[in-house]
Structure formats: C-alpha cells, structure tokens
Symmetry: C2
Subunit: 552 residues, 2 copies
C-alpha cells in the first residue's frame, strides 16, 4: 500500500527553482532594499482613485521611512509565476520563515493566527461531536512502528530517530512521531476492557515530524502542526459512520470558513493511508490548478487493533477487536488558503479566518487634521472591536497612506476604512473591499453612526466571504473536464486541468496513469453521476467516476 | 550557574517507592479488582446522610457492574501517604497514565481539560498584554545550544538528540528543544533591524523535552507541554518591566483561578535560569509542604543577544544588542493544582479550572420514578449549560448512586446535585459541596426554579473558589517559620516547614544549606519586612529575607 492520507503524500512533487532554496536554509525574509522615493500621499478623501493604482504608481515610502520594512511594495504577480508569488507572499506578509534546520518552518504571528482560526472552529466541532482533547507523548519506541506491516512500509523512510538521551546511547531508538496510531493503540489496549468503554473518541493538537526531502512552506515541512483524532468503536458500522462524519466536518470547515470548495470522496487503494481500510479526503483546487489534499479521515478497520491486541468484551462476554478511525488536518491547510485565494497584488483572506478583518488607515497632512482624524479613528476602533470585528489601526508615521493601502491589500485584509479630515467633517468613511479592485469595490460616504457602519461592515464581510467561495467554485468547475477515454484524460492533464471519468481499472493501470501523466486519482467523489458507465481505461463497466489531477 | 527556572529543577528529588515504578513503565491504571457487593443505594432524597460515608460504608457496586471501572472505591488517604495519594488520584481520576517510553506521560482527557483551562486564561492575558502566538521548530542545531556558555552547561546533560533522519546519519546532531531561547534568537536576529521592530513580543504553546532521570507525572516528565514567551526590547528597563509583568500575570492566575496562594519573588543566583540575568518565580506550597516552582519569568539581559548577535539600530543610528525576557508555565501546574487541594477522599478542584463544575446524579428505584427523574435531570442539565456552568450528568446504569457520589468526589467536582423522585415532586434539589463533608456542606430543598437555582449554584461555586484559596493560605502561613539563625532554619526544615529569614550570605553558604538540610532558597519574596536585618547565617547586615524549603 502506498503512502496516503494522514501523511502528506510525496507524489507529484513540484520541482521549482524555489525549492532548492530549502537545501541550505536561507531566510524567507527578503533582503532589505532601500529605495529612493519622492512622493507623499495626497489621497486624503481621494475618492474615486484606486488605492492600489495609487499606491503602485504614485506612492512609495522614502528611504528613511522603510528601514525596518520587509515588504518592498509589490510581490511577484500571481499570473506571472504562481510559486514565486506564493513564496513572496509568505515572506512579505510575514506568514512564515525558514527554520535553521533544512525543511523546517517558523510560523510567524500572522500565519499562526490563521492556524488559530482553524483550531478554534474545529476544536468546537470536535467537542460537539463527542471528542475529548488529550495528549500522547511524541517519542514512540521503534518496535511499535514495526507492528503494522503496511504502516512501517509507509513511514520508515521518513522517520527522525532519537538515539541519544541524557548523554547516553539509548537501548531502543525512539521515533519522533510521524503520526500516533501505534502509541494510541498501545494506550487504548490498557484503557479499553468492555463495550462500556466504547466508543472512545479523542483528539490531540500536536507537532509531527516526517523527514521529507522536498519541502515547501506550509504544504510540506519536516515538522508540522496538526490535530489527529483517534477513535475506537464496537462495530465496523460505527467506525465507518465516524470516519464519514469527520470528513464532513472538514468539508464544512473548508466551504463555510475557508471559502474553499473542496471535493470530498474516497481515496483509491493506492492512495489509501498506510494502515487504513478506507481513506476519505477533501481535495482542493489551488490557484495553479494543482490539487491539494487538505484533510483526511481514515476507517482503520481492525488493522491496528489486531496488530496491538486492542480488544474489548462485548455484551455477550466475547472478546473482540475494536474498530477504529483516525483523521487529521494540518498547517498545510494554511497553504491551501493562501493558494486558493489571492491575486497579483497578494493574499486575499476569507473574512471568517482573517486575523484582521478591517484595517483602518488614518490620513492627514497637518497637525490640526491629525488630532481630529485620530480621535475619530480611536472611536471607530473601539466601536468595531466591541462589535466583534477584528480591527487593526495602522497609524505608523514612517509610512504613507498609499504604501499602507498596498501593504494591507498584499496581506489580504478583507476591508479597509480610510479616515481623512474630510471624512471627519462629514462623519462618514470610505470602505474598500480587497476582493473588488478600484471604484466598484468602494462604498463612499458610509456614515460613522454605529447603527449604520457596523451592519454595513458585517454585511460586506459576508459578501466577501460568499464571493470568494463563489469565485473559487467557478474556477474549480471550469477546470474540471469530464473524460471518457485515456486520450481525453491525458489531454485534460496536459492542459493543467482535473480530469473526471469512469474508472474501474486495476492498481497497475492507475500507476501507469501516474507515470505517464503525473496525475493521480485524487478521489472517487461522494457525488456521483447517475446511470451506467464505462471505464475510461478498460471499457469495462464502471460504478463510479474518479478525479485525476496533479497534486502538491 | 545552576539550572534554574525555565527548566524544572532537579534539586531535592523525592525518593519514593512510587518513582521506581517509572523505570519500567507500567500502567498507572490500577488492576481491575472485582468486589462482591450486596447493597443497593437507598438514598433517594436521603437527606442528612453523608454521601461519602454512605458510599464508603454501605454501597459498593456489584461485580458485574464494575467490569469496566478503574476506580476501586477509594484512594490511599492523603493523610496516610501523600505520594501514594497523588499517584492514586492521577490513576483513579484518569488524569494521566505512563507512556511506553520511560518518564513520558499520556495526559488523559480529564487532566488535559485542566491544562486547557490554564491555557484559556493565560492565552487571553498574553494577548491583552501585547503578545502574539507563533511557532518555532522543535529541532535545534546542536551548535546553537553551545553558543551561550551557562545555557549549554545547564542543559547539555539533559538533551535528547536526533542523529538519524530519513534513514541517514545526520551531519549535525539535532537537539529536541529543551527550551527555545537559542532558536528564538537565531530568528530574532533576522527579523529585528531597527528600534521600530521593538518590542518584539511572542509566545508559543509547545512540547519540550528534557532527559530527566527521576520523573513524576505532571511534576517532572521527559516531555511536557508549556507556553514559552520570548520578548526583545530596546532598553534594560523595558525588559525588566516585562519580566515583572509576566510573573504578575502568573501570580494572578495562581490566586484567582487555581486558588493557590503562591509567593512571588526573585531567585537566588544559584537558582537562576541558565542564561538569565534575573529569574522571578512563583512558589507554591503543596499539601505535603514541599515547594513547587509553578512558573518563572526571566530577565535575560543581553546574554543571548550577545551570543547570537541580535542587534538593532537605535534612534541615533547606533547598533545595540536587544534586551530580552522569557517566561513559562507548564503542565507541571496541573500537578500543583492536584497537590494544593484535596483530601483523603481525592481531588478537590477549584471551580474556575474544574472541567466539571456540577455533577448531577439521578436517583430512582422504579421505572415509573425513572422517567420523571430523568425528565427533570434533562431540564436541569440544559438550564445549567445555558447558564455557562460546566455540567455532567452521570446516568450510567451499572453504578449505584452511592458509588457515583464517591467517584465524583474523588474526581474533585465542586458541586453535586442529587435528583430523586421526592425532589421531582417537591420541585427542589439537594446541592452538596465537595469541600465541606457531610451535612454542613449540603443545601437542602433548593428550588429547581431557574431564577433560584442558577444564582444559588454560581454563588456556591464562588464560595468554594474563595474557600479553597483561604484554606490554602491558612495552611501556607501556618507552615512558614520566621528564623533568625541557621539553627532555627534547620529546625524548621526538619519539621517539614518553610523557613523565612534575613539572608546576605554567599553562594557557597547557600550551597551548604542545601547539602546539610535538603532545602534551597525558593525566592527572595517581593513582599519584604521593614527595618534593619541581620543575615541568619553570617550576622552581617541583610537587605532582604529569603524563603528556604525542600522542593519538588
């Protein structure tokens, strides 16, 4: 069985020039480049001027103003080079940096805040569905890994091993957990005696380590953060129901919070997790049309319980092996959010997971203006904060408003409020959407009156959330091609698209597709067409369609 | 410099028979012992009968009823053997279990929920005080650890080293982080350019590894969970202010949430963290009168910034080394909560950190009774849940009410509500306090009317919170002896108490006290007596008193 789900798959790896950066860890932080600048912002109340074009064309900060800035005014356009854009955005928006050890990543506050938004939502859902958090040690005796045959085959090439502790060579090497099924089963075996102890449903938020050779920030790193759920049940049916329930939790998160229209389905045998009976997945289409496996849920059957002897006494006094599941979402999802949304100017964050939902940029020329503007800004900030809106005021004096517009757009903040002297006089503000450039994305003269402004902002945030999902869905659907022959499949993949077609061929034929096209079966989607079908490869009857794509 | 604060000190280790258990990791879970039982509970509405005595003397579950129970009806009384009580409680209340690797611990849901309560409070306070969460990799190049002289001296005996990755011997050994100052400084050096980048204030929630030889669940484990704050400032004064601010956050948490009257103060030079200029600590008195270092905050001065070259350009264009702090609280605090409160019957959890604040035990004999009782219980549960009270209904049918009373008392749940047929008829309930045994701890005939019951419960929870703190404070104060000579100090320590006396002697004299009495200076408390003093050891003038105690 190939490596599948709980692990990040090592299939279809990108070979981009940026990845070679990782072999000798540099800083993702761009070198400081000082630039001469002459323009001062003149956009106080400058309605009708596109903030972005303004910032790009007219305004850049003076040399002394940017001594401590990392952002150089623009990122590589997404349309020019998707991977360069991705790495630029991660560096400029201060989402992450490379750690000193090859393939490791430092998650910086702005990137970590996105992970916290993921955690907050999922943690509540896990508890609502009856799971408790707990914590298993990260050091696993090497012998544990060897107990489940396909598990050791899948994971042994990627292990980090502790061989020295307290200055002494250890008798048994310790594995730094790549995933926890083995140690979980070792403990479950001690805690489960009777059917009354079932179901046992736990989750942990933890770091895991896999010695990946080709890494990419968030998408595949040597150490990453995740949650791993582990459950044990009395029947096969309950385990199956649980595995399906959890992939549904992930799917809802993707749609409702991350605005990513994932496709949920079942993995092929080749792509099933090392040790699982069945793996369910959510597959997301990135902006470059590569697939990202964004979350997985495994029905482990009795594979681990048989390997570890995890048994219970049933209601008839018979000893039985438990039926198990495991499911995980990792910091890879942050990479998925970055690569799903955004444009040439940078990030575009869905409001529900954005660390900052509204940025307020005060604008003034004279000291007199400043005091009135800052008073209004301060009131607005309190108002929004109390209304539960995540707000940030950028009142730094060494940057121009135009530079700030540009910067916060690059950081993907959904809404910007400009407050200049004219706004203070009119008791109104300009509200600009990140996702709609120029004048169409601006609401002018929105009253500062709380009963007007707060509902307006909330409604706009909802609009943006819906709009990002709609846009991503259109993009996804226009890039999935229905195919009925291998030729059609090859053509779709060659065009960088996803191919969906009837499939009932063998593992070796699936392997052939991978070798010849670089695409793998991402999943057999839960949503299936009706009617009789013919396998695109063999012409034999097929019960279901599969989706093929190149992937991260 | 000796090992100090951020690490768990290895001084004054207990040598109890229970620790030897750890060398070959057994299960903390007690063996199942079946007991014959004849009694059924007859306490429906049984006012005036002590639930505990009832449970202990009259009721025990029948053999077939307890097939899956771990709790054997009682724990070793705390007054008989404190350490046995501690380990019994951890096993019976399912707080933790031993991991398969020596010295590691599995934190089970009930224990982890206490840690989550700690996290929830502190996480908010950290953000309110301007810190952002982020994440640093756990693998640190070995060379980093060697850069700060006292740091390597302190930590090198305790390191776990990864020497093999992806099947190959690594060129440079990797340290599994014991603490993160070194990697933090490596990254800070890249992020900090100018005074405008300061202060830089971050925190991470993470696991850390220290190869401890003598371990004890929660108190000292090979791997543990903690938060570590790291900050960089432009001036020494700011760093000092920050270090003091964070020890104050910890102190408030201890008093207000954990009901532990810690003593905050400064560590002696000998006990200062390896690499710090000054270490502040909160010291807690456990039920056996040993001291537990429950949290520390370090003013690191420029020790790490000089070792790593972490510099900034100040407002005059001069390059300066940053001034730093670090501060940490770990899962050790859970051990501190267990050992601060409790009695012979088991745990006693302060309401503000209790995973369950109110347990409802339905009581019935006949099927007719059951339906009415369960309807009321269901309403009550919803009512309490909506009121923000953490409530649990124990409606399991294989255990008797008396067994349940006993069990939830052992688990330390602050309040219990009994609901029997008579209660349903009277529309009232009995509310029992965990901290006051017998009749004085019971409120009879409390109306089920929401406007009566909810305020009653909230008020009782507040009473218990205050009462636990008051009790612990009385205990602490009655076990601190003011001493003015070494003889008096020795006598106090020999009696198992803490000794507080004027101290201005040398490090070697401090070392002598440790060798001769087993006690160390826990801190120079912030609260100091007025007036001239004479060092208890040398007779020289002394500016301050120190507190000496044996410690975990």
């Amino acid at each position: 069985m190939a490596m599948g789900a709980l692990r990040l798959p090592s299939l279809s790896l990108l070979r981009s020039p940026f990845q070679s950066l990782l072999s000798s860890p540099p800083s993702l932080t761009p070198r400081l480049r000082l630039r001469a600048s002459t323009h001062l912002c003149s956009c106080c109340g400058g309605r009708g001027i596109s903030a972005r074009s303004l910032a790009r064309e007219e305004v850049s900060p003076s040399a002394e103003q940017i001594t401590s800035l990392r952002y150089e005014g623009s990122v590589t356009p997404r349309s020019v080079d998707f991977n360069a854009w991705y790495l630029d955005v991660i560096a400029s928006a201060e989402l992450a940096d490379y750690g000193p050890v090859r393939g490791t990543m430092v998650i910086r506050p702005y990137g970590y805040a996105i992970w916290e938004a993921i955690q907050e939502y999922l943690n509540v859902k896990f508890k609502e569905t009856g799971h408790s958090n707990m914590y298993f040690p990260q050091f696993i005796p090497y012998s544990f890994i060897e107990k489940e045959a396909s598990h050791v085959e899948g994971f042994s090439p990627e292990l980090a091993l502790v061989t020295i502790g307290g200055g002494k060579e250890l008798e048994e090497k310790l594995v730094v957990r790549p995933t926890s099924e083995t140690i979980v089963n070792h403990m479950f075996t001690q805690w489960i005696q009777s059917y009354r102890d079932l179901p046992l449903m736990v989750n942990q938020w933890a770091n895991v380590t896999r010695w990946e050779m080709r890494t990419k920030p968030f998408v595949r790193t040597l150490e990453f953060l995740w949650q791993e759920g582990h459950t044990a049940h009395a029947t096969a049916e309950e385990a199956e129901k649980e595995a399906l329930q959890m992939i549904d939790v992930y799917k809802k998160f993707a749609y409702e919070q991350a605005a990513i229209p994932v496709i949920a389905g079942r993995k092929s045998r080749l792509e099933t997790f090392a040790g699982a009976a069945r793996t369910y997945t959510i597959e997301a289409m990135m902006g470059d049309r590569k697939a990202l496996q964004a979350g997985t849920s495994h029905n482990l059957g009795q594979n681990f319980s048989r390997a570890f002897g995890t048994q219970f006494t049933d209601e008839n006094g018979q000893r039985q092996h438990v039926w198990q599941t495991s499911w995980a979402v990792s910091t890879r999802f942050v990479g998925g959010i970055i690569m799903s949304h955004g444009d040439d100017a940078g990030l575009m964050l869905p409001p529900r997971i954005a660390p900052i939902q509204v940025v307020i940029v005060p604008i003034w020329k004279t000291a007199d203006d400043k005091s009135g503007v800052m008073d209004s800004v301060s009131l607005l900030k309190d108002l929004l904060h109390k209304a539960g809106i995540k707000v940030k005021v950028d009142d730094s004096e060494q940057k121009t408003p135009g530079w700030k517009f540009n910067f916060w757009e690059m950081k993907g903040v959904p809404l910007r409020i400009e407050v200049g002297p004219r706004d203070v006089a009119n008791k109104s503000v300009v509200v600009s959407r990140r996702d709609v450039p120029g004048k169409p994305g601006k609401d002018f003269g929105i009253s500062m009156e709380p009963s007007v402004l707060v509902p307006h902002l909330k409604s706009r945030l909802d609009d943006i959330q819906a709009s990002l999902l709609e846009r991503a869905t259109l993009f996804r659907d226009s890039n999935i091609v229905d195919v009925n022959s291998y030729e059609e499949l090859k053509e779709a993949i060659a065009q960088g698209k996803w191919a969906r077609g009837p499939w009932s061929a063998s593992d070796s034929e699936e392997q052939k597709v991978k070798e010849e096209t670089g695409a793998t079966i991402r999943c057999f989607p839960f949503e299936q067409p009706q009617g009789k079908m013919t396998c695109l490869m063999t012409g034999n009857p097929a019960d279901e369609v599969a989706i093929f794509a190149k992937s991260y």
